[in-house]
């Protein structure tokens, strides 16, 4: 008899539950649509793949056992309304924006501001069912999401999320905020939001995404976002991860870029129990620019894992990665940055940096650059550092009257703030600096 570890049984239980829930799910969606064939295929993939385990190379330092042990509700029973004033602080509320808001996975028209005026900023549920979106769905839906267990699970249950289509030559001035609230109506809740963002030639859009739990009931979000950045389009994407320490997030984002497009993703990770960011860029064209930057500041037993992939397929493209991490208490971090440069991708310029500070003896970070270069005329650089706060700098600041806690916060902020240089929306910059000050327990302005 083969001994089965406790973790495995828990994974199996949740897996069984999800697979058997699929039949109930089929009663709620149109099973005759072509999308449903994709879902049916995906649930089979999930049945085979299951949840990832530490035995897989890409999950060596992140165990999902502690988040998979809950008996999650897959379909929340009743709908909950929220008042804007009660959740206002989770919005970037000092800017004019479109908003797509979900409460326990259900769309909240009350809190949302969508549009069909020249651009489509609306719901995945509408896009998956209405004929006018059929062509876009056929061309783009599930075309770049990988077939791993978690993405397949999301695809199988894909029904709701944000749908954004920007036709060509549109400069979308108002950023689009995508917010997911969970209310705690369920003892434990699992969410599978599915977003599709298609930005056509010469268009520009800014997106802000946030997941927020309002109680301490466990929440697990397994999100999939597909982004298509067509010729010369620009996408500026901000992910604000500052959830409660009972909420976990697996963010699977796939970005396909066509020639001369620019895609930037900034990920700010301060909260949550466990966060795994699977961020994938596929460069299908020349002169593409991909940027991914992040600030991670965590403590207690929090865990944040950044798993990035840039696939350089064609010549004359660039990628820039810059991730800063500060780890206190018993928190753990992972950075795994994979860069593939195909044989045809000559003159690639790929830059990767991951710098970390361990504030406590019990904190740890595993950082691993993974470069697979098949072209011979490329510039690829990578560097990772792990250090402590500089004692002489601490003494210098303190000798000028800045108390220890504030001095430490100032140094930590200074360590990470160049990531904010490329943030184009000042209100986001302000919000992030406030969250950082709050996280570090100080009341000083970092207006540097």
């Amino acid at each position: 008899m083969i001994p089965v570890s406790a973790g495995m049984t828990e994974n199996m239980e949740l897996k069984e539950k999800l697979v058997s829930s699929f039949m109930a799910f089929e009663n709620m969606v149109d099973i005759d649509s072509p999308v449903h064939d994709i879902r049916t295929e995906a649930i089979k993939h999930f049945e085979v793949e299951g949840f990832p385990t530490k035995r897989q190379e890409a999950w060596k330092y992140t165990s999902l056992n502690s988040v998979l042990k809950h008996d999650y509700s897959v379909f929340p029973k009743h709908e909950e309304a929220l008042e804007f004033k009660d959740v206002k602080r989770y919005f970037i509320h000092d800017i004019d924006s479109y908003q797509i808001v979900f409460i326990d996975g259900k769309y909240s028209s009350h809190l949302s501001q969508t549009t069909h005026d020249g651009i489509d900023v609306c719901l995945m549920s509408a896009a998956l069912t209405k004929p006018k979106y059929r062509l876009i769905i056929e061309n783009y839906f599930n075309k770049i999401a990988t077939k791993d267990g978690l993405s397949s699970l999301n695809t199988a249950f894909s029904a709701e999320g944000a749908y954004i289509h920007i036709p060509k030559n549109k400069l979308v001035e108002k950023p689009i905020q995508i917010l997911h609230f969970s209310t705690g109506n369920e003892a434990a809740l699992m969410l599978q939001p599915r977003n599709l963002i298609v930005v056509d030639e010469n268009s520009y859009v800014q997106i802000i995404e946030r997941h927020q739990s309002l109680t301490d009931n466990p929440v697990l979000t397994n999100s999939v976002t597909e982004v298509f950045t067509n010729k010369r389009a620009i996408v500026d994407y901000y992910k604000i991860q500052n959830d409660r320490e009972t909420a976990s997030l697996i963010d699977n984002t796939f970005i396909n870029q066509n020639r001369e497009s620019i895609a930037k993703v900034h990920t700010f990770s301060f909260g949550g129990k466990l966060i795994r960011n699977n961020l994938n860029f596929f460069q299908n064209g020349e002169r593409i620019d991909s940027t991914m930057k992040g600030i991670t500041i965590i403590g207690n037993k929090q865990h944040v894992d950044h798993n990035t992939l840039v696939h350089h397929i064609e010549p004359n493209c660039e990628s820039h990665q810059d991730y800063k991490g500060i780890f206190d208490d018993s928190s753990t971090g992972v950075f795994n940055g994979k860069v593939i440069v195909e044989k045809e991708a000559q003159k690639t310029n790929a830059y990767q940096a991951n710098n970390n500070i361990l504030v406590s003896d019990k904190a740890s970070i595993n950082t691993k650059p993974q470069l697979e270069i098949f072209a011979d005329d490329v510039k690829c650089s990578h560097g990772c550092t792990i250090g402590q706060l500089d004692d002489s700098a601490m003494f210098y600041l303190r000798s000028r009257g800045i108390p220890e806690k504030e001095a430490r916060a100032l140094l930590m902020f200074a360590f990470s703030n160049n990531v904010l240089d490329s943030v184009k929306i000042p209100e986001i910059k302000n919000r992030i600096t406030k969250i950082i000050a709050n996280k570090l327990g100080v009341n000083i302005g970092f207006d540097l």
């Binding site: 500089d390 210098y396 600041l397 009257g401 108390p403 001095a407 140094l411 000083i444 302005g445 970092f446």
Partner: protein
């Protein structure tokens, strides 16, 4: 103001200060000179509160209060300032923001409100002009890529902003050309009053041409072996330290 009594201090169990006595009164300028490794910088760091140094014996009194157990920031709040021999580079923190944080944290410790922004800007303008510091310089990261002279001028700028009761200048003259030396000395002289005091730690007499000391002390092997007036500095400049070694038998 400052009374150091029989101070013994060590770092990593190595004794560096071996019984220092020093009494500095308001309005006075004291110079501490001595060969390399005699303990001059250690004395400055111990008074400023650097934690790597262990006070084994004796006490440091500021206005009668023993400050030995206080952290560096608390000493700063009480008016102690040290100009660093090697100011630390801190990328990502601008000079202005650093000064703002420093002043407001000091005010907070005294139960005062933050300094109003316009008042702060005015003060920054005045003090930077006094030290002939370019405005552009103030938005740069603290000490990052500054020349030796710029770093030292920036230290005196901080001193001017914080208006300390006791300023310890640790080899502020090293790395300064003659023009910068004059600017720095000028700044220090303008800040001098009957209520504050300055301790100048230096190898050379040249800074003392500009900031005239009331007392000159010679530190050797962790002890003050000779004290005198400004003539002592001239004698040291001309004759070196060997004659003192012979005289006191070190």
């Amino acid at each position: 103001m400052l009374k150091i009594k029989n101070l013994h201090a060590s770092v990593d169990d190595k004794a560096i200060l071996k019984g220092i006595d020093l009494h500095v009164k308001p309005g006075e300028v004291h110079a501490i000179m001595g060969p390399n490794g005699s303990g001059k910088s250690t004395l400055a760091a111990v008074v400023a509160g650097k934690e790597e140094y262990e006070v084994e014996e004796g006490e440091i009194l500021l206005d009668g209060e023993n400050i030995d157990e206080l952290g560096p920031e608390e000493r700063a709040h009480k008016g102690v300032f040290m100009s660093f021999q090697y100011p630390v580079e801190i990328p990502g923190v601008s000079v202005t923001n650093f000064m703002k944080t420093s002043i407001n944290e000091t005010r907070k410790a005294k139960g005062l409100e933050d300094m109003p922004a316009n008042e702060m800007l005015k003060m920054i303008r005045e003090k930077s002009e006094m030290l002939e510091i370019d405005r552009k310089f103030l938005s740069r990261s603290l000490n990052e890529g500054f020349s030796g002279g710029e770093k030292k001028r920036n230290e005196i700028f901080q001193m001017a902003m914080l208006e300390p009761k006791l300023a310890i200048l640790d080899e502020t003259d090293s790395g300064l050309d003659i023009d910068a030396l004059r600017i720095v000395a000028n700044g220090v002289n303008k800040l001098k009053s009957k209520d504050n005091a300055v301790i100048i730690i230096t190898h050379y007499q040249r800074l003392l041409d500009y900031i005239v000391p009331d007392y000159v002390h010679v530190l050797m092997d962790g002890k003050i072996v000779k004290s005198g007036d400004k003539q002592l500095a001239h004698k040291l400049e001309a004759k070196g330290y060997d004659w003192i070694k012979e005289e006191v038998g070190v």
